[in-house]
């Protein structure tokens, strides 16, 4: 019974959507809450991956034959890699300038 319940859950689209939403929220929270740039970058990756889960899940349940969602997911992963590279280099430059990766350090835009 218990195994069947899990199987039933894993056959439903909503399970994956809820998971993705949770993951996205955690990522958003981390992005807004973390003071270190590395932490923010990691949170951002979490958000991207939650989107990936959405794409794959929709592909699986809505249009199983086409595989469009899979391809999208692969694109997102590739771009996330590039984005991580760019992000890390920005963080490096930031560190060189402020000797810290605390995002509260620069206050130049303060009104």
């Amino acid at each position: 019974m218990r195994g069947e319940g899990l199987k039933a859950m894993s056959d439903q689209l909503s399970t994956y959507l809820v998971l993705a939403a949770l993951l996205f929220s955690i990522g958003l929270f981390g992005l807004l809450y973390r003071r270190s740039l590395i932490g923010m970058l990691i949170s951002l990756e979490l958000m991207l991956n939650s989107v990936n889960i959405n794409l794959v899940a929709f592909d699986r349940f809505m249009t199983p034959d086409k595989g469009t969602g899979q391809i999208f997911a692969i694109f997102v992963i590739a771009i996330a890699a590039a984005e991580a590279a760019v992000g890390l280099s920005i963080i490096l430059a930031f560190f060189r300038r402020y000797k810290s990766i605390d995002v509260e350090q620069p206050g130049e835009l303060k009104g």
Binding site: L31, L32, Y33, M40, V103, P106, G107, K110, G111
Partner: protein, 608 residues
């Protein structure tokens, strides 16, 4: 042909002024010559234009300047006998005044500026005279006011000159407010119609007499300001602070004549309201008499002439208001010539003897200047209306008009005014002719200054004999000469009486050097006259109490209503800004959060 001449007339002074302002402003040798030559071109063109169109029909040249859909602003020129004659007067006198200025302003450092303003002044006056409609006339009327301000205040470092310029500007402005409102009313009734239409059609028949009366009165406010009618006359004597050729130009042929010319120009409009005309007649009578009284005890030679100008302007307006536009314009013509000559003579005396006071002038030997002395005598004779000088003829025409006007009493007032004119004219002559003691002061003369005086003296002698022709040219009907002998007899009696009184007070041996003459015995009257009939006091009082009170109220409203509203807007924006700057924390994560909230709101908005 006429468009070429007209272009020459109107463009030459403009070119002269801007040529000086742009190229010769530092060149004190070329600028005056340049200006005088171009003004000469303009003057000659006015004369050619006049004499080639003695018998032709009125010409109108106009084009649409602004098309506002249902209304059009038309600019153009209207050449009829009236404007042709006036163009010639303005052109010739402007040229003579500038020619004279070559000598008078010889030592002034600011000559180029002077000649530029003179040219622009003549330019705006010529444009005003040639204007084909009342809106255009208004525009150039204001320009005339502006340049007269600049010319009266030419020696702006003298505080009295600056004050006089301001006074002239304010008082004429006061009248111009009325004029402006009147023009607006007229435009809203009739559209921007030309003077030709205004003169030809009975356009005014559809409007109520009250409305017409109000419009005429409002326009007359402007006339009273420019032509120095009571109670706005007091700027004119003060305007004597300007250089003398300026006085000669402004107070004979141009600025002060503008008002009279406007009365003549829109004569059919004014004749539409006999009540208004009667009121003008009354005001002009007061002006004539007051100014003549003021002239009686004045010691400054230029101010005597200024008061006589005001008095003669009153006579012109009287004639026009009594229904004879031709008589008024004829007097304007003769007066323009002899009065500008008188001012030029005064200029020669002041320039060479260095004082304005007639008693000092007398003791410094004013009578030894042959040309000036000749000009002065001719001018004073013409001013008091002695045969055969031009003033005699134009004054007879005015008497004639007044006798046939609304009420013959005005004729007697005019006669009394002329009597007073004779008194102060001959006082001037006798004071200068019989000084108490005479010293031989150093004199220096400029030959070029004598030329205009001699020319004007000649015209003063000749012009009168063309009186009939000139009035006929302006459209006077067949002359009715009944009662003419009576008029002449009465005016000559008044004249002789005036001259005699002056001789007894200033000419006979033991009275030489007397300052006031007859008025020594009546101190009350002297005080009243010395205070200029308290007109200035009343105006200042009204200005202080009325105008200043009103402006205080308006200032309060401005401060507490309008300013408060403006401040409210400003302050609320500032507060809003102060509040929103808190969002700009300078923290990336705050911006991110706001961004997400925004996106979430958009999503929610579209989903719901």
């Amino acid at each position: 042909m006429e468009s070429l001449l007209l272009s020459l007339i109107l463009i030459s002074p403009f070119v002269a002024a801007w040529g000086i302002l742009l190229f010769f402003f530092r060149n004190r040798q070329i600028a005056p010559i340049f200006s005088v030559v171009l003004m000469g071109v303009s003057a000659v063109s006015t004369l050619i234009l006049l004499f080639t169109h003695l018998h032709s029909a009125p010409i109108e040249i106009s084009s649409v300047w602004l098309d506002l859909g249902d209304r059009q602003v038309i600019m153009g020129f209207y050449l009829d006998p009236l404007s042709l004659l006036m163009l010639a007067i303005v052109g010739v006198i402007s040229f003579l005044a500038q020619l004279y200025s070559l000598g008078y302003m010889k030592d002034d450092e600011d000559r180029p500026r002077y000649f530029a303003w003179m040219s622009l002044f003549s330019w705006s006056m010529l444009f005003f005279v040639a204007a084909s409609n009342i809106l255009q006339a208004l525009i150039f009327w204001e320009l005339v006011g502006l340049f007269s301000y600049l010319l009266i205040g030419f020696w702006y470092h003298k505080s009295s000159a600056a004050a006089a310029a301001k006074k002239a500007f304010y008082l004429t402005r006061l009248g111009d407010i009325g004029f402006f409102i009147g023009v607006l009313l007229l435009l809203s009734w009739l559209g921007n119609i030309s003077f030709a239409q205004l003169n030809a059609e009975a356009v005014l028949a559809n409007h109520s007499p009250t409305a017409l009366f109000i419009v005429c009165l409002l326009i007359f406010c402007g006339v009273a300001g420019k032509s120095a009618q009571f109670p706005l006359h007091s700027w004119l004597p003060d305007a004597m602070e300007g250089p003398t050729p300026v006085s000669s130009l402004i107070h004979s042929a141009t600025m002060v004549a503008a008002g009279v010319y406007l009365l003549a120009r829109a004569f059919p409009l004014f004749s539409g309201s006999p009540e208004a005309m009667h009121l003008f007649l009354f005001i002009a009578t007061i002006t004539t008499l007051i100014a003549a009284f003021l002239g009686l005890i004045e010691k400054d030679i230029k101010r005597i002439m200024a008061y006589s100008t005001v008095s003669q302007l009153g006579m012109m307006v009287m004639a026009i208001a009594a229904g004879s536009m031709q008589a008024g314009m004829f007097h304007l013509l003769t007066h323009a010539f002899f009065k500008s000559m008188l001012f030029l003579v005064a200029g020669i005396l002041i320039h060479s003897l260095g004082t304005n006071d007639i008693f000092e002038l007398a003791s410094k030997g004013a009578r030894k200047h042959k040309v000036a002395w000749l000009g002065l005598i001719v001018g004073c004779f013409a001013l008091s209306g002695l045969f055969p000088f031009s003033g005699f003829f134009s004054k007879e025409a005015i008497y004639d008009a007044l006798l046939h006007g609304p009420h013959p009493i005005y004729f007697y007032f005019a006669l009394f005014g002329s009597f007073l004119t004779a008194v102060y004219s001959f006082r001037l002559i006798f004071v200068l002719a019989f000084p108490k003691e005479e010293q031989n002061a150093h004199r220096h003369e400029e030959k070029v200054m004598n030329l205009p005086v001699l020319f004007l003296a000649a015209t003063t002698l000749v012009l009168g004999f063309f009186g009939g022709k000139i009035m006929h040219f302006l459209g006077a009907g067949a002359h009715h000469s009944e009662g003419m002998e009576k008029i002449i007899a009465m005016s000559v009696t008044g004249l002789i009486a005036g001259a005699l009184i002056s001789y007894l007070n200033f000419g006979v041996k033991n009275k030489r050097g007397a300052t006031l003459g007859l008025f020594d015995k009546v101190p009350v009257l002297t005080t009243v006259i010395q205070n200029k009939f308290y007109v200035d006091h009343v105006i200042y009082f009204l200005f202080r109490q009325g105008y200043m009170g009103l402006s205080k109220v308006l200032h309060w409203i401005d401060l507490n209503v309008i300013n408060a509203l403006v401040n409210l807007v400003g302050r609320s924006v500032i507060e809003l800004g102060r509040w929103t700057t808190k969002i700009q924390a300078g923290l990336v994560q705050v911006y991110l959060g706001i961004g997400f909230i925004g996106i979430a709101l958009v999503v929610v908005f579209y989903l719901l």
